[in-house]
């Protein structure tokens, strides 16, 4: 009821010749608007697989998934692209910015596919960069930015389309402690001030501590789902 994400018995099975890899084994989950969820788990436990399905980049082998009332399994390729464009923002471990393309143009990218006027694309991308503290860096190339700054460009790109949900798969995995804290503070602020739903994957307890809810994934199943008693903001 009013849930942003509803998963029921999601399975993802990869077949490599005769070998069958069950990356997800019956995941059921509901996430409400405005939550900040941390997913933890060992490497290979299926976290990224889950994130890719939630992010409509991949589809489950079995099970159903509703995002904001739309049943994703039934959607066409173009509809999924539309969902990714309007409702989802991705932040990756390795930033995934387009090289030799300015911060502004990277941040513009989702709007580019929405057919907005160039002026509007630029204005909104610049505003998104300002929200992550990169005002004045619009015309820097990724190679001219530090890792933390690059990740902030990636967050601006995810924000620019004002998505319902921001998916961050190990967003601090390639960053030093200080940059990691910067990034987490930005995400935390976006969640609390702007009400953006955030799901993030992390190995680090310190990062997961920002979340209001922590999930533990093991062998493709959610083995623990608990609300964190102390909100990160009042640490």
């Amino acid at each position: 009821m009013g849930m942003l994400i509803v998963c029921q018995d999601l399975w993802k099975i990869y077949r490599l010749g005769d070998v069958e890899v069950q990356a997800l084994r019956g995941v059921s989950l509901e996430i409400a608007r405005g939550e900040l969820v941390a997913i933890m788990g060992a490497s290979g436990s299926g976290k990224s697989t889950f994130m890719n399905i939630i992010g409509c980049l991949d589809s489950p082998t079995r099970g159903s998934y509703w995002l904001d009332g739309l049943e994703v399994a039934r959607a066409s390729q173009d509809e999924l692209a539309e969902v990714r464009n309007r409702k989802i923002g991705f932040v990756f471990q390795n930033f995934n910015l387009i090289p030799r393309t300015s911060a502004l143009e990277n941040a513009q990218l989702p709007l580019f596919y929405r057919g907005l006027s160039l002026r509007e694309q630029r204005a909104r991308a610049a505003a998104a960069l300002a929200r992550v503290g990169l005002a004045g860096r619009e015309h820097h190339y990724p190679a001219q930015l530090s890792g933390g700054q690059q990740q902030r460009v990636a967050i601006a790109r995810a924000l620019v389309s004002e998505p319902a949900i921001l998916l961050a798969d190990e967003p601090t995995g390639n960053l030093d402690t200080e940059s990691s804290r910067d990034i987490m503070e930005i995400l935390d602020r976006l969640n609390r001030e702007d009400g953006i739903t955030i799901i993030l994957v992390t190995h680090e307890a310190a990062i997961a501590a920002y979340a209001s809810r922590q999930l533990l994934v093991k062998d493709g199943q959610i083995v623990s789902d608990r609300a964190t008693p102390v909100p990160a903001g009042s640490r």
Partner: protein, 411 residues
């Protein structure tokens, strides 16, 4: 969509300019292909126009009747001494075929002409006055051979430009002077305006005309009076030519008492036939040009396809990012097609420049006439676009079908 296409074109230029050498080498095939086509088409068009001018120089709506049969290959059989055409044939044709506006006849031989202390060997044509009208000769000075000259067997001559150049000093007026043909004195009554080369490549201005009657009796001699080397006729309208040709054939077969199973003992030609031979030649040329162009455009296209495949591989991660933020298949497809077309189009434009320069160089260096038509430039432009589109399709489609998850992980 407008902003999308515009930005994609800008992106394409940026991507290409990052790798200028690679882009340049990729375009080379298209540049050479388009350049060759433009240059060759303009040379071909120039040649065609020159041939058309030559065919027109034969005269207007001309029918030429030569003695001797046509063989299967279309080559006229050796005249074999058989003189089959006469002035009487000409009179009869004129009388029986109202379609013919004019008939004429001639005979010719190469003779030595002397003027003052200079001499020159030149084909001397004995002609009936109608010849000059049919063949559209005009005069640089003086005037034509008339029926009066014909009836009187006057010793008067018309000289072509080449003859004048070889027998007279520059600025000297030939009209009124006396020349000797086979030791017979002739008064020059006119100088012909130049016609240039014939369709067969001979100099049409290296010629002397004298009245047929004079030629027959005093200069060229004859087997029997009235035998001619060629008959000429003309119609008022080009559309009448085929009917006139058939009528001539019928009249001549009747006069020559040919049985239905016998071949014509004469050959009828019109300007149209002569033009056709030339057209055949230029069609062969066009075909060869087309072959060369297709091969180089094919090579150019494959070059573009190859470089695009490399580019798709290099930019796998970028494609993954684009798909992740909401690019649809058609967006990715469009992006790479635009890159391919940008390559081929820039190549095409450079090729057009190269071709135009090449054509002009040909005119300057070899002296061949060339015509650069807007249509061939337009065609080259559209063709290079089409090459980009066609050869870009496979790489672009490959890019559009990438699995985003794998693409995002690509190192």
């Amino acid at each position: 969509m407008g902003a999308f296409v515009l930005l994609t074109i800008l992106t394409a230029f940026r991507v290409l300019s990052r790798n200028r050498l690679r882009a340049g080498l990729t375009m080379l095939g298209i540049v050479i292909g388009v350049g060759a086509v433009i240059a060759m088409v303009s040379i071909g068009e120039g040649a065609k126009a020159a041939v058309q001018a030559q065919v027109a120089s034969i005269g207007t709506n001309v029918i030429i009747i030569l003695p001797g049969a046509t063989t299967v290959g279309g080559v006229r059989g050796g005249q074999g001494g058989a003189v089959t055409l006469t002035t009487a044939d000409a009179f009869d044709l004129k009388k029986k075929i109202p379609l013919l506006s004019e008939t004429a006849w001639s005979k010719r031989d190469v003779m030595q002409i002397v003027a003052g202390n200079k001499n020159w060997n030149v084909p001397v044509n004995g002609i009936s006055p109608g010849y000059l009208t049919i063949r559209d000769w005009s005069y640089a000075s003086g005037g034509p051979i008339t029926q009066v000259d014909m009836d009187a067997g006057s010793r008067v001559a018309l000289l072509g430009q080449t003859v004048v150049e070889n027998l007279f000093e520059p600025g000297e007026e030939p009209v009124g002077s006396t020349i000797r043909i086979k030791n017979v004195p002739f008064t020059v009554i006119g100088v012909l305006a130049p016609k240039g080369q014939s369709a067969q490549g001979s100099d049409q201005d290296d010629i002397v005309f004298i009245p047929f009657s004079t030629a027959e009796r005093k200069v060229l001699g004859t087997q029997f009076l009235g035998s001619v080397a060629a008959l000429f006729a003309s119609t008022d309208h080009p559309g009448d030519l085929p009917a006139a040709v058939e009528a001539i054939r019928e009249v001549l077969r009747g006069r020559h008492r040919l049985q239905p199973d016998q071949q014509d003992d004469f050959t009828i030609r019109t300007q149209v036939d002569i033009g056709k031979v030339q057209e055949g030649t230029s069609q062969t040329l066009t075909l060869m040009m087309f072959a060369v162009a297709s091969i180089s455009l094919l090579v150019g296209g494959i070059g573009i396809m190859n470089i695009l495949l490399v580019s798709v591989t290099e930019r796998t991660r970028e494609i993954g990012i684009r798909i992740a933020v909401g690019a649809k298949r058609r967006h990715i497809l469009t992006q790479f097609l635009i890159e391919a077309m940008t390559l081929s189009l820039v190549g095409g434009l450079l090729g057009i420049v190269l071709g135009v320069l090449g054509a002009q160089a040909t005119t300057v260096i070899a002296g061949w006439p060339t015509i650069i038509s807007g249509e061939s430039i337009m065609a080259a432009f559209l063709f290079s676009l089409a090459v980009g589109l066609f050869f870009g399709l496979y790489p672009a489609n490959k890019a559009a079908r990438l699995n985003p998850i794998e693409a995002l992980r690509y190192e």
